[in-house]
């Protein structure tokens, strides 16, 4: 597969790992945060943790839109699907995330709610056109990679004058979340591996503020394992040299200014949301978007007067700490025992990018996990 296989070559990986080993100062530790959940997934899937020296560890960041979506927002969507008899369209990633009271979209669907998995925002439009006498709501989630497709779909909906279609907007933004993590300082990180595809849209210049204000080395890393290794080396070099700057390793698709057409489309349909709650990070100002006035007829929150729902997290679940890079998944007392991918207590275990799910599936399990498996049989 072109532009994939070449960036997954094992022989090159070993050589890069050697270079990292050679340049890592044994007198210190390096805590590098990979912001993006996709990078968390890649690090585990390819065993990158095993390739880097012991004094270098990856701290998992909150760049998993499923993980940071508050349970209350999912609960509100379930109530909409059940109470208003809408067709709720969602990406499959959300289906099994725990909402309130051990509920989930998956369980609501089993109870009879018309919840449909879609693979593209345009599918939701298609469903609306095919069901003119039903209300169709698109549960939109994601960081800036996924926001432009929603923007495109809003524009089409307005052009078509589709009156049975609306969007439940939960799009969040990367630089504010990054700033929040750096501001609190609790994750104690020395450098950041920046997200690949968010950066394709917002451009490398979007991180200049974070890097400057917090004297933080940031390298925008490509999605494939060799990209991650190369970016790790680039971060190491910045740290060792006492520099801090935004560097772009993913040059084949990320530019300084990003995709300006996509940015314009987002500006046309969305505006900043004053406050938005992030699971694990709390309520953050100017960290998310909402639908603009010109498109307010497609805002599901307005159309259905959706109320905020407060949902308490599961006791013992430390997803918030994991998302902030403060705790590791295996430090959670529920990990691998009460909380498993089959029976998740928090979003980090359900999302394929969640740190806990990646940790569980790919390699790091406490001995108790093995016992739990035996107990299950």
């Amino acid at each position: 597969m072109k532009y994939l296989d070449e960036y997954r070559d094992g022989a090159t990986a070993r050589i890069m790992a050697e270079a990292i080993r050679a340049e890592a100062d044994t007198g210190r530790t390096y805590r590098l945060m990979e912001f993006c959940g996709g990078h968390t997934h890649a690090i585990f899937r390819y065993g990158i943790q095993d390739l880097v020296p012991d004094n270098l560890c990856f701290v998992h960041g909150p760049g998993c839109p499923v993980c940071v979506l508050p349970a209350g927002r999912i609960e509100a969507a379930i109530r909409l699907a059940e109470g208003e008899d809408v067709i709720l369209c969602t990406y499959a990633d959300l289906m099994r995330v725990p909402a309130g009271k051990k509920d989930s979209l998956h369980k609501a669907k089993a109870r009879g709610a018309d919840i449909r998995m879609i693979y593209s925002a345009t599918d939701a439009l298609g469903i609306a056109q095919a069901n003119p006498d039903r209300q169709v709501v698109f549960f939109a989630i994601g960081f800036e990679t996924t926001t432009p497709p929603t923007a495109a779909v809003l524009k089409i909906a307005r052009a078509m004058q589709l009156n049975n279609f609306s969007v439940y907007c939960n799009h969040v933004q990367t630089p504010p979340a990054m700033a929040h993590i750096l501001d609190s300082g609790e994750a104690q990180i020395d450098g950041i591996l920046g997200p690949s595809h968010v950066s394709t849209i917002i451009g490398s210049r979007a991180y200049a503020d974070c890097s400057g204000r917090y004297a933080m080395p940031i390298v925008i890393a490509g999605f494939e394992p060799l990209d991650v290794l190369a970016s790790t080396l680039m971060l190491l070099r910045q740290i060792n040299q006492g520099r801090h700057a935004v560097e772009n390793q993913y040059m084949r698709v990320v530019s300084e200014t990003g995709n300006q057409k996509a940015q314009a489309l987002m500006d046309e349909t969305f505006e900043p949301r004053a406050l938005f709650e992030w699971r694990g990070l709390g309520v953050l100002p100017n960290s998310a978007v909402q639908i603009r006035d010109g498109y307010s007829q497609f805002d599901a929150e307005k159309r259905f007067a959706m109320q905020g729902v407060d949902v308490a997290e599961n006791k013992g679940c430390i997803c918030p700490a994991v998302l902030r890079g403060v705790s590791r998944p295996d430090e959670c007392r529920l990990f691998g025992t009460a909380c498993t991918p089959e029976d998740p207590k928090g979003a980090c275990m359900v999302s394929s990018e969640g740190a806990c799910a990646a940790w569980y599936s790919y390699g790091r399990r406490s001995a108790s996990a093995g016992t739990a498996m035996e107990a299950r049989s």
């Binding site: 994939l4 065993g47 998993c64 998995m117 093995g370 498996m373 049989s377």
Partner: protein
Amino acid sequence: MSHSMKGVVDMTHGSGGRAMARLIEEVFMRHLDNPLLAQRNDQAAFGVPAGRMVISTDAHVISPLFFPGGDIGSLSVHGTINDVCMSGAVPLYLSAAFILEEGLPLADLERIVKSMADAANAAGVPVVTGDTKVVEKGKADGVFITTTGVGMVPDGVNISGELATPGDAILISGSTGDHGMAVLSSREGLSFSTTLQSDSAALHTLVAAMLDVAPDIHCLRDPTRGGLATTLNELALQSGAGMLLDESAIPVKADVRGACELLGLDPLYVANEGKLICICPAADAAPLLAAMQAHPLGRGAAIIGRVVEDAQHLVQMETAFGGNRIVDWLAGEQLPRIC
């Protein structure tokens, strides 16, 4: 193709009266035709050679009913023949029970039954008895088919999931993930087109060829739902052993890989309907591989790993990249992801 039946299944087809009798004659008896079935009894009586008998049953509820490379009919025949022969048994006969949804086009039903008949004839394993019921619209997904199969295990053959022993070799009969991705490609909404076909096939002659060469095979299983990963985890658990796989040795077709990349799926968890996993003593691996590759259904066979000591009975994999990862149980259905 002969005349296409018109009309749809309705409740009278299940009521036991003339309409039902006609449906049975014109669709089931006509295509599934064989001497035992032709006796038209509520059961089929037959003698069996002395020895150990095997029985297996499977319900088939697949949607869509027709997919590239097969349909629910051929799948229900292949699936049960495979379950029977994974014990090493020679499959002898099948039964088939149909639950038809009111409104199912009769032309579709005929196509399905004809496909079953073709599959059964090609395999030499006839459907000798059956049943039909009709349920109201909405209570079945077009049609549900349950097939049960019986067979006889040859003397000296003892194949079972708990027999995997550290040191054993793990083989697969061909590329993995074909069926699942072929079915996914015909599901609405995914809108990707491919020439991928399901690998649905009856594996009993392959198994027979393998047993000729290595009668002391320890385990055989076909990695259906949940894919290779799930089947290996089941066997690891049953046997109380671990497994170590070599990712670069696992055959995956280019377009299966491409489709999985597109949807964020892992081919290790995608269903197969015409492949088997074999766990055998290390010394048998090379001759078994040769025997498999000489068979039409085993051309792509490969040795993909070995059984190891492991108190936690994990299935681990050396990745093509050079690392090591755990190939865990699937948690529910694998869903395409955007993140």
